[in-house]
């Protein structure tokens, strides 16, 4: 095969993989929106908070150490132990469930049947609170994420694909990041589980009923508060997965919250209420922006992939406002 064509395939493949990473973030948004009609502005910060907590627990960091030391004049920073990744992940999940319980009890329960914009405002407040709280709890240092996920280019794939081009072409094989492959597998499992949960369980049906109408769901005996705790816990779990994957790429740091920006065009494209839509939207955005950067970028000075994703989303919005898999908007007079 012609090396140029192989480069094209490589770009598409890597775009798909990058798209999966965006989808992991978009999933959290879609999940909460689908179940409660809330656009959760704090989803990116939740991913950051989950990743900070995971690394903190794993490395035996004392939470609020800076605050404790400042008040009591002590010099404690670490417990002196390190936890295996799996225990730290379970511990973090526990923290995210506790967070969901507290957020429901302190904020959401007071906002039942309020306009969506009010709930959206509450999540903006949550985002800023959680960012500051995470800083206070775990410090602002950049931390390495090490939960044993392989990363770096795959030698095996390079060797296999090198033979696809003529020997004298100097082609050195196709690049694929092992971390991205793991992320794709995790995303596949996650989406399958979430779709099954949403479509085929009694609880999933209750979630959808709450999303349609809070009051109506309450009137047929669905416990709104339980539903909200569960859905925010699941979103916390999805945030943890996204935090692990993105944290492994860039280290765990406060910029991690900005990954939410990558999820917005994905949601516009896939639809805010669709879990498979988050994946398909991510794949389209990922491939689109990578191809644009590689083939259009050099013509216009480069660095177009960030805004190109939004242009794609905007164009899509004009023709299909509800997104690819979103529920059709029907207003009856």
């Amino acid at each position: 095969m012609n090396p140029e064509f192989l480069y094209f395939i490589e770009t598409v493949l890597n775009g798909l993989m990058a798209g999966v990473m965006y989808s992991l973030v978009a999933l959290g948004f879609a999940l909460i929106f689908k179940a409660s009609g809330i656009f959760n502005f704090a989803q990116g910060v939740m991913a950051l908070f989950a990743a900070l907590t995971l690394v903190g627990l794993q490395t035996g960091q004392v939470p609020f150490a800076h605050l404790i030391n400042a008040i009591f004049g002590t010099q404690i920073h670490h417990f002196g132990w390190e936890l295996p990744a799996i225990i730290a992940i379970v511990g973090t999940l526990g923290v995210m469930v506790a967070f969901a319980y507290l957020f429901e009890g302190l904020v959401l329960k007071h906002l039942v049947n309020q306009e969506p914009i009010i709930l959206f405002m509450a999540t903006i407040g949550l985002a800023y609170f959680l960012e500051g709280f995470g800083d206070l709890m775990w410090g602002a240092n950049i931390k390495a994420m090490d939960v044993g996920i392989p990363s770096g280019g795959s030698f095996w794939w390079e060797d296999v694909t090198r033979t696809w081009a003529p020997e004298d072409s100097g082609y050195f094989g196709m690049y694929i990041d092992k971390l991205d492959v793991v992320a794709a597998i995790v995303a596949l499992v996650l989406v399958s589980a979430l779709v099954a949960f949403s479509q085929y369980t009694k609880f999933g049906r209750a979630l959808r009923a709450v999303a349609d109408d809070h009051q109506a769901a309450l009137s047929v005996g669905i416990s709104l508060r339980t539903i909200w705790v569960v859905v925010w816990s699941i979103a916390g779990f999805v945030a943890l997965v996204a935090g692990i994957m993105w944290g492994a790429k860039s280290g765990v740091q406060f910029s991690l919250s900005l990954i939410a920006l990558k999820a917005l065009p994905v949601l516009i494209l896939g639809g805010f209420t669709s879990i498979p839509g988050a994946i398909v939207g991510g794949l389209i955005i990922g491939v689109g922006e990578k191809l644009a950067e590689l083939y259009i970028g050099p013509l216009v000075g480069g660095a177009i992939e960030n805004w190109f994703a939004y242009v794609v989303a905007l164009v899509f919005l004009l023709f299909r406002p509800q997104g690819l898999f979103g529920e059709r908007i029907i207003e009856r007079v």
């Binding site: 990058a18 950049i142 770096g152 990041d177 790429k249 740091q253 990578k290 590689l294 660095a303």
Partner: protein, 431 residues
Amino acid sequence: MRLKLLVASAAAAVVMSTAPALADLVFPSLSYRTGPYAPNGIPFADGYADYFTLINERDGGIEGQKITLLECETGYNTEKGVECYESTKGQGALLYQPLSTGITYQLIPKATADGIPVHSMGYGRTSAANGKVFPWIFNYPGTYWDAASIIVKHILDEEGGDLNGKKIALVYHNSAYGKEPIRTLEELAAKHGYELSLYPVDHPGQEQKATWLQIRRDQPNYVLMWGWGVMNQVAIQEAANIRYPMDHFIGVWWSASENDVLPAGDGADGYKAIAFHGVGSDFPLFDDIQKYVIDAGKAAGDGSHLGEVLYNRGVYAAMLAVEAARTAMKLHDTTDITPAMMRDGMEALVLDNARMAELGIPDFGPEINVTCSNHGGPGLGAISQWDASSKTWSLVTDFMGADREVVDPLIMEDSAAYAQEAGIEPVACGS
């Protein structure tokens, strides 16, 4: 009446407790301890504050005059930085260290009009090195254009003096800061015959897959980086992922902290960067900081950043400020200096090896001799390299000079264009 008196007294007490004492030397610190860039802002702010605290605690101030540090949080946000400037300039501010190219660009006309010197140490507008056009702005000991030139000089050394037909790539933050070295690298490409390719990365730089796929395909001999924040960590990780030889990957001094290399683990081993000051804590000065500041419980932070690259940079910036203030005091024969006197002190600053040894930082940086026309200093830099196993930086070259034949005309050209645009009449310098 009594209530009014009470309220007035309380208000006066609040004002007096927050305002510096009248005779204090006031140095604002435009820091960023929050937000996405906090991991870089914190060690610098700690180093900057801790050095001033050391001077107060160990020496009783500069020539007996106590220092007051006014810290103001900018969040690395240009608007907030300008607000910080406006809110602190009336409190006797002697010098601003904006720690942001964006804030520096905004402060250049403001500080010039207000008559307060700005020290954009190794950042900001490169052509501010021309003191005739920018009498209130200083960027010694080196500029971005010096850095670009010194890196190319290092590559020349590595390649036996010949870069003909070689390919050099620049991965840069797609902002005014990131674009700074392009012109210099283009001029140097024309001079040395290498091919320059440019790879901009949009803020924040969390996703760079397309950029590194292009680099993998184009196979440049060297990759240079002008990055900041998360862009640095992702770029180093991606370079390691595509197995780019790390000793051919060279960053500017703002892409060269422990924060940038640690997340990539062993993959970052061998990564190089230019430095304009020493690394590590093996200097007598740091023993004093430990004793008088950290152990005494007076540190700005938790003391854990001592010896890190950005902490050292904060210490270095504060040390240069203190030495300039000392020079100003001698020049004007008073310890009660004004911002205008401080400017004179900065312009007359001479820092040689003997003085650095006296200060407890022998050979920590290049010798500095600022003049009326040259606010950029000597323009020297050394190459540092990261050792992932010991998690330390070390200088692998001596301090080298930039190609003045290329850099100086560019400074003249750019500053002349600024002077014309802003209607500035360049000041006359003696030499």
